[in-house]
Point group: C2
DNA sequence: TACAAACAGTAACATTTATCACTTAGCACT
DNA sequence: AGTGCTAAGTGATAAATGTTACTGTTTGTA
């Protein structure tokens, strides 16, 4: 019953019957920081529920760029894996582990079956769709309406939220890659932010002061 | 039985029972070109199924910009209205009619009920989520990885597809607004495209030659 | 200690996009 | 024909971003 309590804690909205089903029908898997869980173009056969750790979801450009869209955290599910699930579609995104992850893999067939049988699963799936869709709309806002300086601010704040710390362990190059720009641009903008007193820069890390 | 046949033709995947339910429980509504069906921040109480005409879905910026995301056409549904449906959420988007529209409005409560009762409705909803999510990802590709000239090409081709015509009745200003840039930029880029033999420009309209 | 590798700072320059100001062309109406 | 309106063309300039090239600094490690 250890596992049962675990799950109940991380997914409090799930009914007891649903949790029992998950217990008996799913596979657990761990990944290390840096692992790529899902690649663009790969076939998807499972829906993923995150128990522990952190994952970043990217959209990949043809020329090798990788653009950060959002984070996945404990208690959340990969919306793309749910959406593609229905017809064994290929993935439109890339998922990279940033903090050692434990997750649950649920086969497509069950994912669909539970939609009909478990109200709490149905609601979870719809909630996941909705929140991710909204998150992606916010991403569009950022790149459509905002210049790089604002996008950088947003990026740093979101990273701080995800880490739960104002001390950000990021190189300028990493940031540049995830915003699909160049390191020099990020260096310049960070310098300006420092002059405005919004950050304090150090080697390999920086403090958010706001 | 006129209406029944109509619906069956536009939504061929729906089961007969589902179509009967729609017939007896939904409201039909018409809108004129230029009407705004849904505004950012408005509460959503219905899911919309398009029978006839064309709708454009925009994301609005704080400073009054409106950024085109995708088209809605006959046989399709508004994914956002389905997603927000569950909890009477407010709309994250703006929907504008570009060609006189007939549509069906389905109350939230039924939308949810049918998910459990009609397999063809369930599949339609999931399909709608999936295709819209993919479309929005493609939008992100365009603005994250491509420069304005490529985005303009994509925009024109998509418009041609939607209209089913290579003769595009668009002013430079309209295009600029929907790509969130300025008229001058569009004029210049179109001129370049004309020099490359991709379009032929006229007053108030242009021909796509590719 | 010496060397290599990764990170960061920065100047110079190119390119793209935004903005401003003005001109020209086409169309509708009287 | 004359007037006024809107769309479109264009040159000048500014600002943001991308690119190149080089420097210095820190870190790890041979």
């Amino acid at each position: 019953m250890r596992d049962f309590d675990d799950l109940k804690k991380i997914f409090p909205s799930f009914s007891d019957e649903l949790i029992n089903e998950i217990e008996t029908n799913s596979i657990r898997q761990s990944y290390k920081s840096g692992d790529v869980i899902m690649r663009t173009g790969q076939y998807i056969n499972n829906t993923l529920l995150i128990l522990k750790g952190q994952i970043k979801i990217y959209r990949e450009g043809e020329n090798g760029g990788e653009f950060l869209m959002y984070y996945l955290q404990p208690g959340q599910a990969c919306a793309v894996s749910m959406i593609c699930a229905t017809k064994s579609q290929t993935s439109q995104i890339m998922a990279k582990v940033v903090e050692d992850v434990d997750l649950i893999m649920i086969p497509l067939t069950l994912m669909e079956k539970w939609m009909m049988e478990h109200r709490s699963w149905y609601e979870f799936v719809i909630f996941t769709y909705r929140t991710r869709f909204e998150e992606v709309l916010e991403v569009i806002d950022n790149i459509a309406f905002r210049a790089m300086d604002e996008r950088l601010e947003f990026y740093l704040k979101r990273h701080a939220d995800a880490c739960g710390s104002k001390d950000l362990k990021l190189s300028h190059q990493e940031i540049a890659t995830e915003l699909n720009t160049s390191r020099e641009v990020i260096s310049r903008l960070l310098k300006k932010m420092e002059q405005r007193g919004m950050v304090k820069l150090h080697r390999n890390h920086m403090e958010l002061l706001t």
